[in-house]
Structures are given as structure tokens and as C-alpha cells.
Amino acid sequence: MTDHDHQARDLASETELSHALVGAYAVDALDESERTLFERHLAACPDCQAEVATLQEAAGVLASTSLTTPPPGLRRDVLAQIGTIRPLPPLPVQPTLAERRDELAARRGRRRRWTSTVAGVAAAAVLAVGLGVTQPWVDQPDELSPAQQVLQADDARSTSVELGKDVRATVVHSDTANSSVIRTENMPPPPTDRVYQLWYERDGVFEPAGLMPVAEDQTVQLNGEARGADGVGITVEPEGGSEEPTSEPIAEFDFGPAA
């Protein structure tokens, strides 16, 4: 068995392993590295989010078996100190990419979600044509490469996603250059017979934006046009890529409202 197979198997079983940590996480019984691993999973797993909440409610009632009123001085200290601490503002109410996507798609009467074709993974058509492989960015001394034009554009905006401990992907997009570039750091390889596929998301529709070469650290330019896109997503697809996403994205880069 090759290293690659090992890594692929590890990735494939990571979700299952993470699900199993949900109880220990709810009672803070994970060590530092497990906690990091699980929180990365949690951010993308609605099932675990719901389970964590209910298990924390359950654990919390255990505390009712050991009530102890703190000394009166503690109340005085706490109430004196809050005067010196500014409460955080609420988190900005910004529709998530998924919400905006759903809303737009619903309005247009063609609701297409990441999940809509998940059931059809086995039958997913593998695109043979019309889907280019993105080119690694090669520095060209004489003129600005298309990737550099994006990175150096005045309106270049960058969106980063943490995919795990020390694993990060950053999308830089520019309307004037009408293109985007993605940079990855410490990206693990996709599972066997799978590829990372890039997508532009536009009004609830996903446009293939190329396949990512396998490399931990790289900068690649996306196919397609950045102008008017709501964001970029990465999914894991069968080798050769898909016409539309067949799985939930492992990362979403929300461009936010246009500048």
C-alpha cells in the first residue's frame, strides 16, 4: 500500500472519526489537537452542530447535583469589573453564501444546491471536454502574468478559509482583471480517484472553474470570469471533474457585497 493510499484512506475515514468525537467534544474531553481537528469538522457538519448543542444541554444538568453559592465578595468583584469591559457587538448579520445562493436560486425558480446531485454521485457524468485544468502560476519576468494581474489589481480582494491546523486556502479576485487566483498552504492530497474542483458561484448556479493540481502549496488561476460571481467553492469530485458539484464544498469563499 502506497503512502498516497494511506493518505486517501485517512481522509476518507476522517469524517467518520470526527463524528465519533462529538460526545467527548461536548464535555471538553478532547485534547488540544483533537479539539482542533473536531472544530474543523464541526464547522462543516450540521449534524454534529445539532448534536453538540443537545449533548451540552444534557451535560449541563449534571451541574445541578453540586450547587455552591460563591462568596458574596465574588459578586461584588464581578459587577465592579464588568464596568471596565466593553461588551462585544453582535456578529454582523450577513447572509451566508449558502443563504444568498438559496435565496437567489429560489427567486429564479431554479433551486440548485450543492446537495442536489449528491445522490447521483455514482452516476455523475465525468466531463471529458470543456473543463480545462488550471495552470500553475509561473512567474514571467517581462510582463505581468494573468495571475499577477489579479494579485496586483487595485481592486484585488482576498478571502481566506482555514481548512484545518496550518491548512489554509486564499482566493484573490479582481473585477477589473475579471479573474481569480487561489493560493493553498499545506493542502492534503484528495482521496484516491478524486480531485479538488473549483467553482464559481453565480446567482445560485455553479460554474466549473477548473481542477486543482495536487500540491500542498501552490498558486493557481481559476478558469472563467470573476466579475459578477458571488464566491468560489472547492469540492471533492471524481477524477476528471464534474459538470456540477456532487458533494458539499470543503471550502467556500464568499466574495461579499460588490465593492
Binding site: 474531553a29 449533548l55 453540586s66
Partner: protein
């Protein structure tokens, strides 16, 4: 060191869980009086948990204080759609209590044998007072729905502040199985208590 006093009765929770959520909401707008009310409604429970996990009364007071200050600072981040206000607060104090015991142990390895023997607190006046509360009684009944191993695993993890790996060692479970016992135990407790659904 300030002494701790046992509470006379069960948890005061005027107006129920929604009331705590409203107090949190007012606190997020800087309302000191609301936060005072919130403190009075939850202090015995919050401090009881800190003391149970940390053991040392002086350190437990610090943990309780840190937890309330964090609650004050982050009150606007409480989302009633995701759970009760009390659970949200208990999660804050539990994380702080656990961080406290683990950082204290970072340099000196914990003697698990000793702690295992003492992980069930003495039947003191505090436990006595809590026992009187209706909810504590319900919790004890609910715990009966768990297998012995599940109950021990959940209590060692939540009240003892041990990692699932340590729980496995303490209970002589094969490595990796304690997390399953903890999860199964919590699910049974949840279903028996009818919380969080």
C-alpha cells in the same frame, strides 16, 4: 481565602430559561442591573461546576469570575436558536475550568490513581443541599438510565475534567472506546432528561 457556603435550596431560575436569555440580551447592551440578576440566578450552578472540576476553592472562584466576565463580554454572541442561555453559560465556565486544571498539569503529570479515588466528592453539606433540589433528583433518576461505565465515563469527563484518553485509563477501557461511552451516556442522559430537543 473566602469560604464557600452551601445553598439552601435548588437553583433560582425566575421566569425560566427564556428569562435568562432576555437577561443576557439586556447585558449585551451594557445593562449592569440585568447582569446582576443573571448572576444571582445562575451563580450557585456556575460556581458549583467550577468548584467540582477545579476542587481548589480559591482557584474555583477565579474560574467563576473569569466565566462571568467572559459571559458579559460575549453576551451578544448567545444565539437562542442554538440552545438555552444556561447551557451556553455552563459551556463557558466548563471550558475555563477544564483549561485551568489542564494548564496546571502541563508540567506535572497528574496522578490518575489518586484522583480516581477522590473523583467522587464527599457526601458533604453542598451535595446534601443540591440533593434537595428537584432537578438534582431528576438528574439522579436519569443517570440510572445509563450503564455504570457510561455514567462513570460521563462524570469523569464532565465533572472530573478528564480527557477521554484519561477516562479510558481510569476505567481500564480499551483506548478509543471511552469517547463512545461518553457519547452514548450523554445521549441517554439527554433522552431521559428530555433536554435539548
Amino acid at each position: 481565602m473566602r469560604s464557600t457556603e452551601p445553598v439552601a435550596s435548588g437553583p433560582p431560575a425566575p421566569g425560566g430559561p427564556e428569562a435568562l436569555g432576555r437577561l443576557l440580551q439586556r447585558s449585551s447592551r451594557g445593562d449592569h442591573a440585568a447582569f446582576g440578576e443573571l448572576y444571582d440566578a445562575t451563580a450557585a450552578r456556575v460556581h458549583g461546576l467550577a468548584l467540582r472540576v477545579v476542587r481548589d476553592p480559591a482557584q474555583a472562584e477565579e474560574v467563576t469570575q473569569e466565566a462571568y466576565l467572559e459571559t458579559w463580554r460575549t453576551a451578544s454572541r448567545f444565539d437562542p436558536a442554538k440552545g438555552s442561555a444556561l447551557s451556553w453559560m455552563m459551556t463557558i465556565v466548563h471550558r475555563k475550568a477544564v483549561d485551568r486544571v489542564r494548564s496546571a498539569e502541563a508540567s506535572t503529570r497528574r496522578d490518575l490513581t489518586y484522583h480516581h479515588r477522590t473523583s467522587t466528592p464527599e457526601h458533604d453539606s453542598t451535595a446534601e443541599a443540591a440533593h434537595a433540589s428537584l432537578e438534582a433528583h431528576r438528574v439522579r433518576s436519569a443517570l440510572a438510565a445509563l450503564t455504570d461505565v457510561q455514567r462513570e465515563a460521563v462524570e469523569l469527563a464532565y465533572l472530573g475534567g478528564y480527557t477521554h484518553t484519561e477516562v479510558a485509563q481510569l476505567l481500564d477501557l480499551p483506548l478509543g472506546t471511552a469517547k463512545t461511552r461518553i457519547r452514548d451516556g450523554l445521549i441517554r442522559l439527554r433522552d431521559a432528561m428530555g433536554v435539548g430537543q
